[in-house]
Symmetry: C2
Subunit: 202 residues, 2 copies
Amino acid sequence: MARPSVEAERKAQILGAACAVLADVGFTALRISDVAKRVGTSTGTVHYYFPTKRDLTTAAFEWNFERSLERRQHILELHDDPRTELRAFVDSYLPGDEVTVQAWHVWAELWVEALHDDDLAALNERVYGAWRKIVCRIIEEGQAAGHFRAGDALNLANGLIGLIDGLSLQVLLGSKEMDVERMRVVCDEWLAALDVVEPIRS
Amino acid sequence: MARPSVEAERKAQILGAACAVLADVGFTALRISDVAKRVGTSTGTVHYYFPTKRDLTTAAFEWNFERSLERRQHILELHDDPRTELRAFVDSYLPGDEVTVQAWHVWAELWVEALHDDDLAALNERVYGAWRKIVCRIIEEGQAAGHFRAGDALNLANGLIGLIDGLSLQVLLGSKEMDVERMRVVCDEWLAALDVVEPIRS
DNA sequence: GGGTTGATTGACCCATTGGTCAACCTTGGG
DNA sequence: CCCAAGGTTGACCAATGGGTCAATCAACCC
């Protein structure tokens, strides 16, 4: 080892740039040279760490997921009561601030690419499964504590996640009839319907 | 006029082929030559009717919408009671048969392209608005008839549509945890929750 | 300070593909 | 039967952009 490796750091820079470009112009229009320019390096360097465009984008999709989960870790570590936890978790996914919007754009690109690529579909299944599992766990805890009404927790989780995905898409598309505030209301109504009609105690 | 125009017919053939290719390989990988080959003609002919690739894909997205609505016209013309009508309408959107799956694929491509193209975003707003309006109208009729519980009909419609979109995506992606049958169950639960708790009469 | 190796560069190659175009075909009218 | 005009063809052009590579640099060790 001649010097300390800069590999991890450089890779992170490149992946961050790749996500930004993906969100800006989409998978179709992503150019290796754009990513390089954004990092302030050359296309050669990008290819040095990610031999092909597919290697780069696949790694970027994975990186987007890891960062996305990382940003929400603090919510999960609070160990609030399930109602608060679920609400905070859902809230963190509303495409309001720029970071969240960018992450959503990258997710959308992943979905559509995954429709025609088995490897990406497998990646989606894995990372989407993680998100589904977290929501499912919170719902189960809420049911056990008597806060949430009964029902198949997996179905409930899938419903909530589906709702969020679908609404986010329209928000991202700039629909006049579906903006972040409307989305918040619809999600809140869904969450309210999850609460037991009669609180069990006090 | 030397002969009767074949324009409408040929355009429809080309647009049908374009939708098939879009669904098969996606917007990114759509080639004019693939569309031409599927129709059994030359790239020159495709360009004769649709000067640029963008003209072709935009028209294909619109065509997909029109066909999609057309296929459901019979449901709307039955004038069933709102509960039955809404259920039939939702059911017709489950990505089960091949035709519906292809249409969903094209929708997904539209969404992601529209994220980076204002014209396509406007197209989406228009056609998505039509779909939203239909669902909203059915819900309002159901509320007026006392079948559905009270609540902002537009929000309810947006919630249902968002749910369907989000779930469909995961079904299309071949998720093991979300197939058509599970999707049907989740949608049915949503619809059941829309019914009034105590039927108003008999 | 020389050697080793990781890291970087950007010019270049070449496959791909959207779009053009001039020639040609086909149908129907006069 | 010939002409006009819509319709069709596919070779070709030009641009684009992924990936290669030989040269170079920079950090660290001996």
